[in-house]
């Protein structure tokens, strides 16, 4: 208490209110005022006294002074009555304008570039799709080419076989079981080769459980010449079967997959005797 009284008596609070203290001294007073209510009260009493004193000595400003002040408050630029001449507004506006134009141009350019980029991206995508499509097509052509090559080779073989007198052409006709069926077998008596011509074959497609089996009749007995499938999508024309030195007739039966030892006679689809 005594200490606070001395502090008050020192006159430092008056100097504080009058703005006479340095920053550290002010902080000290503020700290003291915050911790001691009596100092805070004393400080306020001094302030009120000086305030009352100022109000007592008040001088009314001229009437339109506030209007002038208001006019200065609204335009943002004028914060003080500095002697500096006002900035060249026109030039600034112009530069602002050109800045806006430049900005607008930049934005425009950005938009255009963006569109161009998107376009390029879309075009690239299209091109990639086209490349994939072309490659698929090329593959398809290449495959087709191979098929054609093979077909061509086989057709050439057929043509050669017809020219060769060693080749016998045996036409097999449909039986009662399958009257619409017919088939062609090439048989080389000299080399004993037996070849089926699928291009001139007309048999119903077999299922997964069954296969056609070619038989040769030798001395009245059936001899197995191998099994084959009939598929419409097969590109192969010539089908080499087992060799046979002699045959009186050829026949085809539908057997279980893999073939049978003896032909199932009621499943015979085509038959032909060999005419010499």
């Amino acid at each position: 208490m005594e200490e606070h009284k001395a502090y008050i008596e020192s006159g430092i609070l008056e100097l504080y209110v009058l703005g006479q203290l340095s920053a550290p001294e002010m902080l000290e007073v503020e700290r003291m005022a915050a911790s001691a209510p009596e100092i805070k009260r004393e400080l306020e009493a001094i302030e009120i006294a000086l305030e009352a004193y100022a109000i007592e000595n008040a001088v009314d400003p001229r009437e339109n002074l506030f209007n002038e002040l208001e006019a200065k408050l609204n335009p943002v630029q004028q914060t003080s009555f500095s002697i500096q001449p006002p900035p060249p507004v026109r030039v600034e506006q112009r530069s602002n304008k050109s800045l806006i134009y430049a900005l607008a141009a930049c934005v425009g350019l950005l938009v255009v570039s963006g569109i161009a980029l998107i376009n390029a991206h879309v075009e690239l995508g299209k091109a990639q799709q086209q490349i994939i499509a072309l490659r698929t097509e090329t593959d398809r052509y290449a495959k087709g080419m191979n098929v054609l090559k093979q077909t061509n080779t086989e057709l050439q073989t057929v043509a050669d076989m017809i020219d060769d007198p060693n080749w016998a052409i045996v036409q097999l006709a449909g039986t009662r079981t399958s009257p619409a069926s017919k088939m062609m077998v090439y048989w080389n008596r000299k080399s004993q080769d037996v070849v089926l011509d699928k291009s001139r074959m007309k048999l119903p497609e077999n299922d997964q459980a069954h296969q056609y089996q070619l038989w040769a009749l030798v001395g009245g007995k059936p001899v197995d010449l191998g099994v084959f499938d009939v598929k419409t999508d097969s590109a192969q024309i010539l089908l080499r079967m087992k060799e046979i030195p002699n045959a009186e007739a050829f026949a085809v039966t539908l057997e279980k997959r893999g073939g049978s030892v003896n032909p199932t006679m009621d499943q015979m689809v085509v038959f032909a005797g060999v005419s010499i």
Binding site: G11, A49, L50, N57
Partner: protein, 158 residues
């Protein structure tokens, strides 16, 4: 802002006028004071003191700064003389001008040695150290006199 102006404008103008002794300049400075108050409003800390104290110190500092810069500008011819008699001259001017402007001067109701010090510190922009030097008094005496002067004022306003 209007409310602030209505409430304190005249009181602040009184303070500024006492410092500058020039009505037109004082009114300019009053405007400047309010502009500064407006733009520095967020710096006011209510815990550190009353709003009027803060405003008054802004007004006083602006006025004293203006006066100093003006004195400096006009000082070309009579600088030497002014320097020598500054204190006396200012005080003289003060008294004359107060009468001219028709201000009520409550300070004059104080003992001269008290009003002198308060005038110098409050209106003439002296620091208390400068006042002590000018009056050839110890610093402690100046402080005590300021305090006593304000205690007197408090008695009058209570």
């Amino acid at each position: 802002m209007r409310a602030l102006y209505d409430m304190y404008g005249a009181a602040l103008l009184g303070v500024i006028l006492r410092i500058t002794q020039h009505t037109e300049l004082a009114e300019d400075l009053l405007q400047e004071t309010f502009l500064k108050i407006w733009h520095a409003a967020e710096k006011y800390d209510a815990t550190k003191g009353r709003l009027f104290t803060w405003m008054m110190n802004i007004a006083r500092n602006l006025a004293i700064d203006k006066l100093r810069s003006k004195d400096f500008k006009n000082s070309g011819k009579n600088q030497d003389i002014e320097n020598n008699v500054a204190v006396i001259d200012n005080q003289k001017k003060q008294i004359i001008n107060i009468e001219l402007l028709g201000l009520r001067d409550l300070v004059t109701g104080l003992k001269p040695e008290l009003s002198n010090v308060l005038e110098m510190v409050y209106y003439n922009g002296f620091t208390h150290a400068e006042a002590a030097e000018a009056l050839n008094l110890p610093l402690g005496t100046v402080k005590t006199r300021i305090r006593t002067a304000i205690v007197e004022l408090r008695k009058q306003f209570n």
